[in-house]
Symmetry: C2
Subunit: 201 residues, 2 copies
DNA sequence: GTCTATACGGCGATAGAC
DNA sequence: GTCTATCGCCGTATAGAC
């Protein structure tokens, strides 16, 4: 439950765009889903649809950026951690009828060549994840280059597997991706650190 | 150059949708890009926009399905083959100003929850790739389960890396994904077979 | 700040002359 | 089979009463 009208609008927009992307979500859809009338959308977001999408991407990006380190915190072995993350993603997807997906990627793919401002916003969200993940893994003992590569591999494989899983309505691509990536890092130990302190910029 | 008007329409549609997805491409855009007037689109495709997208996905899917085995045919080592595929993808992307991308995924992500018929079409294209790839690797000596996992990992990682690379306008995600997946399969030898005979269903 | 009514443009699709 | 004019609808955005 969002407290303010503004927050309700952003939450509704993020949820709708996660399912349908950017172009297929209308201002009327957002108004209806948030409970606010159309006029309120433009009152709170003078920049219209682009501004709403922009802020929704930033919010969702921050939430997702924290999710992966949080999940991985539980593990001491990198291979097991990776398999755990993908298994969790598979479970979430299946339990939402394969309607769930990264809210940023579904918009990013669509606007990369059409809405410059949103492409830049998605890029900065992705950059935050990559830099945050690299810093997290470095803090847990991996060397710099490897920390960055592992992060890129996880994020990329997750995004790709989401598209396949959603389209095929099957968890197989997620589980196969997790299994495959995990194989490689099994036996790589993650150091225990007190405070991870990693978030998207 | 396409020979018939029909082919020109499908080629133009595939090219446009690869860049902008499904919703953001209009019938007028397709008409203009193909050189055919609007009426011709509906003459050749009674099912309208959905039918054009459907056939464009099938065509593009068949072409892409042949591409990866063709590239991998050159190699004897699975690790080197994977790194080669991702390096090639990175080169293509950079040389097209990061505008290039898998024409199927950009539509698939957008329509998975909105246009049932196109979701089913994308699913069958993906299924063709996965089954074709699994059969190809099996023919080159990998055991069944591994052949399927390798295929899923390659396709998933490619699709995800495409989204990141396009948004960030950088080849790094593609190169990192290729490097990471390759590490794992370095030293795995692919058998030489006379005719690969693998294509999407 | 909230909400309704409406403007204006572009969409997919069609009709029908050629 | 090709092409143009146009329909009806729904998109974003706005004006202005409350």
């Amino acid at each position: 439950m969002a407290r303010s009208t503004r927050e309700a609008i952003l939450t509704a927009a993020a949820e709708l765009m996660r399912h349908r992307g950017y172009a297929a979500v209308g201002m009327k859809d957002i108004a209806h889903a948030s409970g606010a009338p159309i006029g309120s959308l433009y009152h709170h977001f003078r920049g219209g649809k682009v501004q709403i999408a922009r802020e929704a991407l930033i919010n969702a990006g921050a939430a997702y950026g924290l999710l992966i380190p949080t999940l991985i915190d539980e593990y001491d072995d990198l291979g097991q951690a990776i398999e755990g993350v993908f298994a969790q993603a598979a479970e979430d997807m299946a339990s939402t009828g394969f309607a769930n997906m990264c809210p940023v990627a579904s918009v990013a793919a669509e606007v990369a060549d059409t809405v410059a401002e949103l492409r830049e916003t998605s890029a900065s969200v992705f950059r935050g994840w990559i830099e945050g993940g690299a810093a997290y893994f470095a803090a847990r003992g991996l060397d710099g280059a490897r920390a960055r590569d592992v992060t890129l591999a996880i994020v990329g494989a997750l995004e790709g597997a989401f598209v396949l899983a959603r389209t095929l309505r099957s968890t197989e691509p997620l589980l196969a991706a997790g299994r495959t990536l995990a194989l490689q890092y099994r036996g790589v130990t993650l150091a225990r650190v007190s405070a991870a302190a990693v978030g998207p910029r």
